[in-house]
């Protein structure tokens, strides 16, 4: 149940479980007989990937990557970079990029550029949440989407606010006034 910083529950644990099961069934059908590699970006995609892969009925390989985050302000933030690279070779393989949420598409654009350069046979996206209201990059190869996300700050099931609330079993809407509070130094 929501408490304190969570304004309301958007998706219950049961709703997520059912939808992830449906998505897994679709992925199973589509990738039957293919060499499927599922890749996610730490840390947010971890929970979705874990549940999705356990519901699949085909053999798969999983791998993880992590990228640096943008830090605002007038100082130089540099460029996004891989903090943790994949261990698997992508060449000639069917790669499904598993994400918790796609918002502007800027992060995804970088990930696609990075992964396409490794010559996979196929590269597509499976996202649990699709927030299209602020989409900037709109030519993303999204093959599977769980839910359309509203224009709100969401937490839980991998989604965090300042590294908190990731482990909530549901997806909730964060209290808007909390977002405006300055981050601790």
């Amino acid at each position: 149940m929501p408490a304190g910083p969570i304004e309301r529950v958007l998706l219950t644990e049961e709703q997520i479980r059912l939808r992830v099961g449906e998505m897994a069934a679709q992925v199973t059908r589509d990738y039957l007989g293919l060499d499927l590699l599922l890749v996610t970006v730490l840390k947010g995609g971890l929970y979705f990937l874990a549940d999705l892969t356990r519901a699949l009925e085909i053999p798969t390989t999983i791998d993880f990557m992590a990228i640096s985050s943008y830090r605002g302000g007038k100082g130089r933030s540099g460029a996004v970079r891989l903090i943790k690279d994949l261990e698997e070779d992508l060449s000639g393989r069917h790669v499904l990029l598993v994400e918790d949420i796609i918002d502007t598409g800027l992060t995804m654009s970088y990930l696609l550029r990075t992964l396409r350069a490794r010559d996979p046979a196929d590269l597509a996206i499976c996202t649990l949440l699709d927030k299209t209201t602020r989409r900037i990059v709109d030519d993303l190869p999204i093959r599977y989407r769980g839910f359309e996300a509203p224009d709100a700050f969401l937490v839980g099931y991998g989604l965090d606010f300042r590294e908190q609330y990731r482990t909530l079993p549901y997806i909730g809407v964060l209290q808007p006034d909390l977002i405006a509070t300055p981050a601790p130094p």
Binding site: Y70, I136, V137, A180
Partner: protein, 114 residues
């Protein structure tokens, strides 16, 4: 306000947005083109629209607005006019709420997004 490319930004929010694009390796141009919307009897342009950003990789113009509602309404009217006159041009507008939400994602505080 200027950035590494020497652009003169009208607002800090535009400067911050440009830095986000730079971070993700997205090429951008600042106000590269003005679209005439209305002409007077002599053919002189009396109203035009200059979107804040052009992203050549996506062939997309972007307008950021953090303005008060009355000015947003005017901007919306311009945007509708532009879409009617230039249907082949892809343009999107990010409203104040969108910009604030986008910056909240990066934990940028209001002082840096005014």
């Amino acid at each position: 306000m200027t950035d590494g490319q020497g652009a003169q930004f009208a607002h800090e929010s535009e400067s911050e947005f440009a830095r986000i694009l730079d971070f993700y390796g997205i090429r951008w141009e600042y106000e590269p083109r003005s679209f005439p919307l209305e002409y007077d009897g002599t053919g002189r342009t009396i109203e035009s629209f200059s979107p804040d950003f052009y992203l050549p990789d996506f062939d997309l113009y972007l307008e950021l607005t953090t303005l008060r509602q009355s000015l947003v309404t005017r901007k919306n009217r311009k945007l509708r006019r532009m879409r009617a006159l230039y249907p082949h041009v892809r343009v999107k507008i990010l409203y104040g709420r969108d910009v604030r939400s986008l910056f909240a994602k990066y934990d940028l505080q209001p002082a840096s997004i005014r």
